[in-house]
């Protein structure tokens, strides 16, 4: 499919929209080669590991999964409904809708977003096992470079809540030895949380301080690490606890943690 095809499909879509078919959405697919395809619908075929871009004229262009760089799929109408229910903390309303979206939009962008919301919903309900499952599915089904740090943190928190410590340990270890320094810093903090939950308070302090010392360039992780270390040291009546609070207040005065302490 060349540039002309894209134009034809787009024009067709435009024509249809102009003739009253305003509901017809335009989905887009960008190939690694840089070529862009647009159509009224894009489908995913699991067994063939292939996408199909369906034009308004009924034409179908198959694209192998490994040729695809990104997708831009029109938001499913139900998604907003689910998001609204989530905002109102009506998790039982949101869950079936999101489940449906996650199934129908498999590998079509919105499955990931739905799974993330699903995890959040189960999380809020205290069902950490399902939350961890959902985030696990999301992580398994999304290319690594498209995953956000927040998604990892949600996954780890859910794993911790579900007490799946072996999986958590492995995932944290991968992140710590991985390429992203900022993700590693977050993983170190989470490992500290895990140690704390297991009653290994000194190991937890070591991890929080590890983040402070070895990941000091990851500024966004510092307030959490400093504040958690200080809190734990306080619990343990360690005399140097206040030094960390002072560091937090002087170096990260705008952070949530410093503000909580009354920092300027």
């Amino acid at each position: 499919m060349n540039r002309n095809n894209v134009i034809i499909l787009a024009v067709m879509a435009g024509l249809l929209m102009g003739t009253g078919a305003t509901a017809l959405a335009v989905d887009k697919l960008k190939k690694i080669s840089g070529e862009e395809l647009a159509g009224v619908r894009i489908k995913w075929f699991e067994t063939r590991q292939e996408y199909q871009v369906e034009g308004a004229d009924g034409s179908i262009i198959p694209v192998a999964a490994d040729e695809v760089e990104s997708l831009d799929i029109a938001k499913p109408a139900e998604f907003d409904k689910a998001a609204k229910a989530m905002a109102a903390k009506q998790y039982d309303v949101a869950i079936p809708i999101l489940d449906d979206v996650a199934t129908r939009y498999k590998r079509l962008d919105w499955d990931g977003k739905a799974r993330e919301l699903l995890a959040t919903a189960y999380f809020a309900k205290g069902d950490f096992k399902t939350a961890a499952d959902k985030m696990g599915e999301l992580i398994d089904n999304t290319p690594k470079n498209q995953l956000t740090e927040a998604q990892y943190v949600t996954y780890w928190t859910a794993l911790m809540g579900a007490q799946r410590l072996a999986i958590l340990k492995k995932s944290l270890s991968d992140a710590i030895t991985g390429e992203s320094k900022s993700l590693a810093a977050l993983a170190v903090i989470k490992r500290g949380d895990m140690a704390k939950a297991e009653g290994r308070r000194e190991d937890a302090v070591l991890d929080y301080l590890r983040c402070v010392i070895l990941y000091d360039e990851v500024r966004e992780a510092q307030p959490e690490a400093l504040s958690k270390a200080a809190d734990l040291l306080r619990e343990m009546k360690h005399p140097r606890e206040d030094d960390l609070r002072k560091k937090l207040m002087s170096q990260y005065p705008e952070s949530v943690q410093a503000r909580k302490l009354g920092g300027v």
Binding site: G126, G161, L214, R234, D243
Partner: protein, 954 residues
């Protein structure tokens, strides 16, 4: 002429040294690259922990590393030395060093690191010894592979010695540096210039001025070094040598020669000056400033020497020379405001202006002061740099110069603060204090410097905090609160001080701080937290009544969330603790309903929140049932309440079968069934307790559970009967159970049953149980008024076990019993002997409990009571007053005894008619215990004393 060490020896260079040595080690022990990376990272982490002042955790990190990589022992030695020395364990660090292979690269690195640590701790002698022992390994100079380490260490050592004032030693160290190949010709010229400067300084030392040949040798050495530098071309180093050469001439008494040297080289110096200007370098680096200052000084000295000369020509020459001097000084002050010569130049210039006017009637118009601000600002930058580089003495001198010019520039408070901190570092406490007080008072009345003044003062307090000089920092904080009450950080600092007090369990002081925040800063964002802490302190002090309104207020400040629920739980607990069972019950019930029906609204869904909600629900369920079991009014409703309590416990057990409170709940339900005459159900509960929680304390001692539950319900008599029932079948119980029961009954003053229980426990052959039982028996007898019996029992104890751990408690009880017996004794001689025994026993208490403040306070109260028994009311009063005056009322353990001393002394004041002292004691009590249990008595006592004094009593 001091060159800063960091200019050439940046901190990183030391790290590079270490890294170099570590690479050597790495080569010696082949390990996988990833392992080596991990080892290096862990060592970096451990070293970082030491720098962050967590040596305990650094040790842990190293230990963990060595468990994983035992072969990394040598590599970790440097960090281990850092850990040990940061804790002041130098002997252990030395031992570690001794255990390392002699001559190995890593050993040398560790040795030098130890030297650095000695220096950092101000142990210059030891630092010197360590460094010299390193250098002495190479009497003929270092071998090539060590030369770099040797040279850099010698340079570092020279700077240490210079800063500590050992110029001779520093010069020797420089000579060592020169034996090593330096990185580049430029560095070599730099080091040579510095060394020449040092030679001039050494030549000026008193030891040298009296030893001309030695002085000449050093000056020649300087000249030779200058020549070498000058061969390298016209640059900064060249220019610096001009100044040195002029100094050399001056040292030889050749002032004209010195002036000529400078004048001759002036064109070249101007070139260097222009080069610096062109390169937009800081002009403070220009040697022109020093040259012109030197020239000005020479002109001034010559000019002043001619003042008073009657020859008119000489007078004119004098005035001309002084005018020339002014010109040089003002040039320095105006063109080189950042140079260290500028403030002195300005001062000298101004001084000459006065001299010219006074001696010659010449009026010289001083240049506009417009550059004064620039001069101050440049000087402040310099001083700050020195301060940041820990060159405190020079920084202090600079700051004094600056503040003599002005104390109203924009950063003046910080300058004063840093000056105060320099004095702290230099351990010059009177000056540090003077500067701190100046800072506190100077800027608190200004509007534009108020905020900065407060911050600067806090920085001084922090400096003391870092040194753990708490008393000194407290003084600074007091100055801050007094002078900067509206400062933006005042509430935060008050709060933090409160936290610090809490950490050392000084609840009273903490409460004062949190209350100050709550009272004075209700709009501050820290206000809710202050309320929370305030309530905590009040609860810790047992003042639940006052904690209730604080908690209610705190709850109102919070938005919907688990914290709000937790506060409601605290509020309910406070109600319960004050005996307000119905409000407590309502709060617990409300909590249970909220968690069940609206839990989602309150929880953010995080594992922490979910766990917290569960815990709140668990506590509320249990406490609600416990509250029902305490309700007694109206009596007709009692069975209904008890049934409700059972229902509550069962609901709790169903919901939280694994709770720590589950065995207690089962026991309580069993007791309640018994009270409701339902023995079968009661039996079921106790069976469940034994079966489901066999390891619990409750299952092991069901009698205690029953009695404790009854006691908790306020059914004391029935509880006592349960314990008394134990005596019917003593074989069924262990000595520990009798002891426990006796202890409970002693607490509630049921001495007779307690005596019988202890007597039963005393039948044991196990020594610890026997001792505890005998002490309990003695206490019970004393409580019953059977003091003669108590004396017998306790004397028997001390005969059998004169060194028992119960020694203090036995003597305390024995002392009182002796005194009581003595009081009843009609024979005066015998009575005196018994009182003597009472004194001796109490002396033993004081001797063995001297580190236990609580016991000491208690002993003093008891001693006063004995004095009362002896009829020595004035002595007793003196003892009570001693307690009031000398025991810290903020010590939570001693506090009740101090209050007791006050209460008991009131009677004695009245009996002895000492109303002046009574007034003072009441006022002291009201000040120290504003919420104490005897506040009403103190107020009444104060009024009574005032009225008596007004009517003429003493």
């Amino acid at each position: 002429m001091v060159t800063k060490m960091h200019d050439i020896m940046r901190p990183r260079s030391l790290c590079r040294l270490y890294a170099g040595a570590l690479v050597l080690v790495a080569l010696a022990r082949p390990v996988a690259a990833t392992e080596q990376d991990e080892i290096q990272e862990e060592l970096k982490f451990a070293s970082g922990l030491v720098q962050l002042r967590f040596p305990d955790y650094a040790q842990r990190a190293v230990d963990k590393l060595l468990v994983k990589y035992p072969a990394a022992k040598a590599q970790s030695a440097r960090v281990r030395v850092e850990v040990l020395t940061s804790r002041g364990k130098f002997e252990e660090a030395e031992a570690l060093l001794k255990g390392m292979p002699v001559g190995a690269a890593e050993t040398m690195v560790v040795q030098l690191s130890l030297g650095d640590q000695y220096y950092a701790w101000g142990k210059m002698k030891e630092a010197q010894r360590t460094y010299e022992s390193f250098f002495n390994q190479f009497p003929k100079g270092p071998p090539a592979e060590i030369a770099r380490l040797y040279g850099e260490s010698a340079y570092k050592f020279s700077q240490m010695l210079m800063l500590s004032g050992d110029l001779d030693g520093a010069l020797d160290a420089y000579r060592r540096v020169m034996t090593c190949p330096l990185n580049s010709r430029e560095i070599e010229r730099r080091v040579q210039t510095e060394m020449a400067e040092l030679c001039v300084r050494v030549a000026g030392l008193p030891t040298m001025t009296t030893n001309v040949p030695a002085q000449k040798k050093v000056l020649d050495e300087a000249a030779a070094l200058c020549n070498k530098v000058q061969y390298g071309g016209n640059d900064l180093w060249f220019a610096k040598t001009v100044v040195i050469l002029a100094h050399l001439k001056m040292a030889n008494g050749d002032l004209a020669g010195a002036r000529k040297t400078i004048m001759d080289y002036l064109p070249m110096l101007a070139e260097v000056d222009a080069m610096l200007k062109e390169a937009k370098e800081n002009m403070k680096l220009s040697p022109m400033a020093e040259c012109k200052f030197l020239l000005g000084t020479l002109f001034e000295e010559d000019g002043r020497a001619l003042i008073g000369n009657k020859d008119k020509l000489k007078q004119k020459e004098s005035a001309d020379l002084l005018v020339k001097a002014i010109s040089q000084f003002w040039t320095v002050a105006q063109k080189y405001p950042g140079s260290s010569w500028a403030p002195e130049s300005r001062r000298r210039g101004d001084g000459i202006v006065d001299t010219l006017a006074k001696e010659f009637g010449i009026k010289v118009k001083a240049p506009a002061k417009q550059n004064a601000d620039q001069l101050v600002s440049e000087q402040v930058k310099e001083a700050r740099l020195l301060f940041q580089n820990n060159v405190f003495k020079t920084a202090a001198e600079r700051y004094v110069d600056i503040l003599n010019i002005s104390d109203q520039f924009s950063n003046a408070p910080w300058a004063v603060s840093e000056l105060a901190r320099c004095y702290i570092e230099l351990k010059d406490e009177p000056y540090a204090r003077a500067m701190t007080e100046f800072l506190a008072e100077r800027y608190c009345q200004t509007t534009n410097q108020y905020e900065s003044g407060g911050n600067a003062l806090l920085a001084v307090a922090s400096a003391y905090d870092e040194r753990q000089a708490w008393l000194k920092s407290d003084v600074v904080y007091s100055l801050y609160y007094a002078n900067y009450p509206n400062h933006s950080k005042a509430p935060v600092i008050l709060f933090r001080q409160g936290e610090n007090a809490l950490r050392v369990t000084n609840t009273v002081a903490a409460l004062k701080n949190f209350k100050a925040v709550a009272d004075s800063y209700p709009n501050d964002r820290i206000y809710p937290d202050a309320l929370s802490r305030m309530a905590y302190c009040l609860a810790t002090l047992g003042d639940y009544t006052n904690a209730i309104p604080v908690l209610t207020n705190y709850m109102a400040q919070l938005s919907v969330g688990t914290e709000q629920l937790h506060v409601r739980l605290r509020l309910a607990d406070a109600y319960r603790s004050t005996g307000m069972v119905v409000p407590a019950l309502n709060e617990y019930a409300r909590l249970i309903r909220i968690v069940k029906d609206e839990g989602v609204k309150f929880s953010a869904g995080t594992p922490e929140d979910v766990a917290r909600m569960k815990k709140i629900e668990e506590t509320a369920l249990y406490s609600k049932a416990a509250c029902y079991s305490r309700l007694k009014e109206p009596a007709a409703q009692l069975p209904l309440y008890q049934a409700k309590a059972i229902e509550g416990y069962e609901a709790f057990l169903k919901e939280f079968p694994k709770s720590e409170q589950a065995p207690t709940a089962l026991g309580a339900a069993g007791v309640l069934y018994s009270l409701l005459n339902k023995p079968k159900e009661a039996g079921t509960m106790f069976e469940r307790l034994a079966k489901e929680y066999p390891d619990s304390q409750q299952a092991k001692n069901i009698v205690a559970v029953r009695a404790a539950t009854l006691m908790d319900m306020g059914l004391k008599d029935q509880a006592v009967m349960v314990y008394a029932d134990m005596l019917k079948t003593p074989a069924l119980f262990k000595p520990s159970q009798f002891l426990q029961a006796g202890g409970v009954l002693l607490e509630v003053k049921q001495y007779d049953v307690a005596r019988q229980l202890y007597a039963e426990a005393q039948k044991t052959k196990e020594v610890p149980f026997w001792q505890a039982a005998t002490l309990g028996l003695g206490k019970s007898l004393s409580g019953m008024g059977e003091n003669a019996e108590a004396v017998k029992v306790l004397e028997d104890f001390l005969t059998k076990f004169p060194k028992s751990s119960y020694m203090v408690a036995v003597n305390l009880c024995l002392s009182r019993s002796y005194a009581e017996v003595a009081k009843k004794e009609v024979d005066a001689q015998k009575s005196k002997q018994l009182f003597d025994k009472a004194y001796r026993a109490m002396s033993k208490v004081r001797q063995y409990a001297k580190d236990d403040l609580e016991m000491m306070a208690r002993a003093d109260v008891e001693m006063a009571a004995i004095q009362v028994l002896m009829g020595d009311k004035l002595g007793a009063l003196a003892s009570y007053q001693r307690i009031l005056l000398f025991f810290d009322p903020s010590n939570i353990k001693a506090r009740p005894h101090v209050e007791q001393a006050f209460d008991r002394s009131l009677v004695l004041f009245r009996e002895t008619g000492r109303y002046n002292d009574m007034l003072e004691a009441c006022e002291t009590y009201l000040k120290q215990f504003p919420q104490g249990q005897f506040v009403a008595k103190a107020r009444a006592g104060r009024d009574e004393a005032k009225s008596k004094l007004a009517s003429g009593s003493k």
